[in-house]
């Protein structure tokens, strides 16, 4: 376990965070730690509470309960203490469209006390990292969607934060820009920056993160390295069945089958099955529908993966 | 035709759901007319003259009576010279005089704001009244000393002489409808506001045209079995109805709330329709040319208010300096306000102002034609 005990080796310590909006409990007793230099993924579907958690970590909203410490500094809503340690990249674009990329960075740099020659040097550096240097003088509203995202990220790492928080930075952009962003984040992680990365894309989490937390319904369901998480589901495999109709009824039937851990209808025609040893069980699974009006039209066996873990922990597949 | 109706109905629905537009359409014009009425303080625009005369005598009463008899003068009792000075500085009064007594001489001191010319002619009236009173006393003095009699006999002789002497005839004739001061200033000012708001409401409607473009509604409509001509017609009819609605709200509201007498309904309706057409053309043009709603808001406020000011909606054309008045008529506002004055002041009917209606209609048609050409070019 790479969890450090020295307080200064802990980039982020989140303990017992809670937040409700009215009757809706958005974040429910969340605990986790990020070690120095670690890239940590917060994985969960839309509405899991990821953004609320991040907002509390950044001090943007006050927690109902719990504490956040960044490198030993307590973060509190409304207080600037410790903010300099954090670089925050919000989920939505947060840049001024009528300013050039460089002027955006100048402004956000100033908020962190960056000015003069030092600011210009840092701006050039981050522009290089996000590959925007040759377009830095153009108004950001003229950028493509991917370029805006990259500028959005650049603004968060300008002041050399020790903990970079990226909230779903790749939502809704083209594959090329997405790769550029992932490469940049991977490079930052390799360079020793601590990163908190939220996503609902499984493959991003697998590619980037040293450790992961799976979040659903405001709770952390599990935390660990990819290997640790996958081992939780053991030798279980995920079988995705495409059926002609009535997926719900099909899932119902499958749950009765010995060796099937869970079966969930994902939509009208897809059933996800978590099973012990898919290869052996497959004939039984297909045989279940003999004599019923439901026909199996497709079978897909997934190797043990975070998908399987997610399904195991939350009962739903992680999709858009 | 169904397409046009559909576009108009959709536009009117959107108008109904838009609190901002309703506020500008209903509350603001009525509030302005109300405030105008309140500012002027009643039906006529009298010249207000302050009088500081704590102990009136027969002589000061003579002067006061003479002033009260002058046209459009209202006298206001003021406690002392300081209060008169303050009121003049605030332009609450147009002028005033202070009666002082020393060594048996009653002095009438005129006071006016250095920058407020309205009371000047009243000053002349006061001077004339004081002079007349002085003359009366002097006549007694001259007769008494000249004939060596006492003043009572002299005054009695003068009184008898008064009956014998034929008074110098002073006859006053007004030419060319002179004295055509408005019956109700509120009516004239409401007329100016009617012109202003028909045009302003139309210009704000330009954002509808822009939104249709931006929201892609126009594209979607064009994808259907609808000609560009019908789309443009639908939009234009919507703008016209909005402008006409504005006219109806102002006329109806001012009649119901402030009992404004608008004069010939046919003339007011025809002029409003002409102005509504001008507004329609201007709105369509602005909607095609503008890129953002902010631009439309800015242009509407700026152009709408400046043209209204120049066109006599804030100060009746009648009171414009002669050198400026001709320039007012480059605005459609002036053509409407000019005709409204005729209708409200001289009781003119549609027959007397149809020329102005034609000018408005022509201006509106030209604007609309330019807008349609621009739209077709943009669509094509």
């Amino acid at each position: 376990m790479p969890i450090a005990t020295d307080v200064l080796d802990i980039a982020l310590r989140v303990e017992g965070l809670k937040k409700s909006f009215g009757a809706n409990v958005a974040v429910d007793d969340v605990w986790f730690r990020i070690a120095k230099g670690e890239t940590f993924g917060l994985l969960g579907p839309n509405g899991a509470g990821k953004t609320t958690t991040i907002s509390m970590i950044c001090g943007l909203i006050a927690a109902d309960a719990g504490t956040v410490d960044v490198y030993g500094t307590r973060i509190a809503a409304g207080s600037p203490r410790g903010r300099r340690l954090i670089g925050y990249v919000p989920q939505e674009l947060a840049i001024y469209p009528d300013l050039s990329g460089r002027d955006n960075l100048r402004f956000f740099g100033r908020l962190y006390g960056l000015r003069g020659a030092e600011a210009e040097r840092r701006i050039d550096e981050v522009l290089d990292v996000v590959a925007l240097r040759d377009r830095a003088g153009d108004r950001s509203e003229e950028y493509s969607g991917g370029m805006k995202r990259r500028l959005n990220i650049a603004a968060g790492m300008l002041h050399e934060p020790r903990l970079l928080i990226l909230d779903e930075p790749t939502v809704g952009i083209d594959p090329q820009s997405r790769n550029a962003i992932l490469d940049a984040v991977a490079a930052l992680g390799d360079a020793g920056l601590s990163v908190l990365y939220t996503t609902h894309y499984m493959e991003e989490a697998e590619r980037l993160c040293d450790r992961l937390a799976i979040m659903d319904g405001g709770k952390i369901k599990a935390t660990g390295t990819r290997r640790e998480l996958v081992s939780m589901v053991g030798k279980h495999d995920v079988v995705n069945l495409t059926v002609s109709r009535a997926a719900r009824a099909a899932a119902e039937g499958l749950r009765a089958l010995p060796g099937v851990r869970s079966a969930t209808a994902q939509d009208d025609r897809t059933v996800s099955v978590l099973a012990d040893g898919a290869a052996a069980l497959l004939p039984d699974i297909i045989g279940t529908f003999a004599g019923t009006p439901i026909h199996v039209q497709g079978v897909e066996v997934l190797e043990p993966s975070l998908d399987a873990v997610f399904l195991h922990l939350t009962g739903t597949a992680l999709r858009d | 035709m169904n397409v046009v109706v559909a576009i108009v109905v959709a536009n009117l629905r959107r108008l109904r759901n838009d609190r901002t537009s309703l506020f500008f359409l209903v509350i603001v014009p009525l509030l302005i007319v109300y405030a105008l009425g309140a500012a002027i303080g009643g039906a006529t625009q009298s010249t207000l003259i302050g009088v500081v005369d704590p102990q009136p005598t027969s002589a000061t009463k003579e002067v006061r009576t003479a002033l009260a008899g002058a046209a459009d003068v209202r006298l206001v009792q003021v406690s002392d010279a300081g209060a008169l000075r303050d009121a003049l500085a605030r332009r609450e009064l147009d002028g005033g005089y202070v009666v002082t007594r020393r060594d048996g001489i009653t002095t009438f001191g005129w006071m006016a704001s250095a920058t407020s010319p309205e009371g000047f002619h009243v000053a002349q009236v006061m001077a004339a009244a004081v002079t007349r009173e002085g003359l009366r006393q002097r006549a007694v003095e001259v007769v008494a000393t000249g004939r060596g009699t006492d003043r009572v006999s002299a005054a009695a002789a003068l009184e008898r002489a008064n009956a014998e002497v034929t008074r110098t005839r002073v006859r006053v004739t007004a030419l060319q409808g002179a004295g055509d001061e408005p019956k109700s200033v509120t009516a004239v000012l409401a007329g100016g506001q009617l012109t202003l708001f028909i045009f302003l409401a139309s210009l704000f409607g330009a954002s509808n045209v822009l939104q249709a473009r931006q929201f892609g509604v126009t594209r979607r409509m064009r994808a259907g079995p609808v000609t560009d001509g019908l789309i443009i017609t639908g939009e234009a009819v919507s703008r016209f109805i909005t402008a006409a609605l504005q006219a109806l709200i102002i006329v109806g509201g001012t009649v119901a709330l402030f009992h404004v007498d608008w004069g010939s309904p046919a003339a007011v309706a025809a002029l409003s329709a002409g102005m509504a057409l001008v507004g329609t053309g201007a709105a369509m043009l602005l909607g095609v040319v503008a890129r953002t709603e902010q631009q439309i808001g800015g242009v509407a406020m700026g152009v709408g208010l400046v043209m209204a000011a120049l066109g006599g909606s804030m100060q009746p054309l009648h009171y414009f300096p002669d050198a400026i008045r001709p320039f007012a008529f480059i605005t459609p506002h002036a053509w409407m306000n000019d005709a409204l004055w005729d209708v409200q002041v001289n009781g003119a009917g549609l027959g007397a102002v149809w020329g102005n209606v034609v000018v408005l209609g022509a201006a509106g048609t030209v604007l609309l034609a330019v807008a349609v050409l621009a739209m077709r070019r943009r669509m094509g």
Binding site: L111 | A89, T107, R132, V142
Partner: protein
Amino acid sequence: MRVILDILWHDVRARMRDRSAIIVGFVAPVALIAVLSLIISGPDTEKQPIGVVAGGSPTLQQALRRGALDPMVREGVITVHDYPNAGAARKAVIDGDVDAAVLVGDDGLDVIHGDAPVGSAMAITAARATGDLVDTVGRVITAERILGASSDAGVAAVAGRLQRAPSTVALGDVGQKVAGIDAKTQVASGLATFFLFFTVQFGVLSLLYERRTGTLARVLAAPVAPWQVLAAKVGVSFVLGLLSMTALILTSRLVLGTHWGNPVGVALLVLCGVLAATSTVALVAGVARTPEAAGFAQSMVALVLGILGGSFFSMARAGGASAVFTRLTPHHWFGEGLVRLTGGASWTAALLPCLVLLAFAAVVGVPGAFLARRAVRP
């Protein structure tokens, strides 16, 4: 403090760049002030032209010119134009060359006038005064005859005696001037304050826009306290308002020749007035939930306060409820301050209006700032 200035400067530059504040805070009011000041310099500021037709009774002719018109000419309120006959004078009136004409007959005077009210009234006054003078001379001569004198006294001699005789009434220093606010300055100050309430919205209300676009969250994630962000945005409103008022006052003074009075007093008034305007927009930002609603509410506040406060037309003569309403608006007190300052009063004359403006700012702004904290505290 530095971070407040950073945000403030950033925002002020942004508003200058997108030109919206320049249009609302400068271009539109300047254009409107220019047009209005052109059209309100009405006919009354000139000398009224009055025509006089030669001929008729020499006594009346002389009495009219020497006794009535000459003093008015000396007073600088009329000019006299001579016409050879009634037809020419009538034509001059119809053409508007003169406001009115006086025709002298053998036994009386005829005044013909057009629709210029002031010139007409002056001509009528002059004619009546002439009649008074001639009648009085006639009465004196008749009275003396009644008292048994031989009626050898000529008209001129009697008129001279009348002039020398004492009376108990006299004209004081007619034409004594009270320095007041002139019409141009009144228009300029009214419109400047009217547009001020639109201009200030570009500061505080950007909080609501930025909350929507997400940049506010980013700013708040920086080492900046929420109150600093709020202070900066309020500061933007204040600075934009100040820039607008200063530019409008200077422009209208240099270009249109308006008179504003003691500079220190005007500066104080402007500061307090801008503070009052900023306070209203803070309250609106605190109450409104969306930027659109806030923009609408601020326009409403600006319009209602402006109209009732006499921005477009003086409410000085309003009575009843309107007189009370108008005194509740900052616009009224700004105007009141100017009235006190014009005419050379020292800056202290503006103190009371300034205090009222500050009180308005406090009453509206303190709850406004309290509520507006919501905008920076998600």
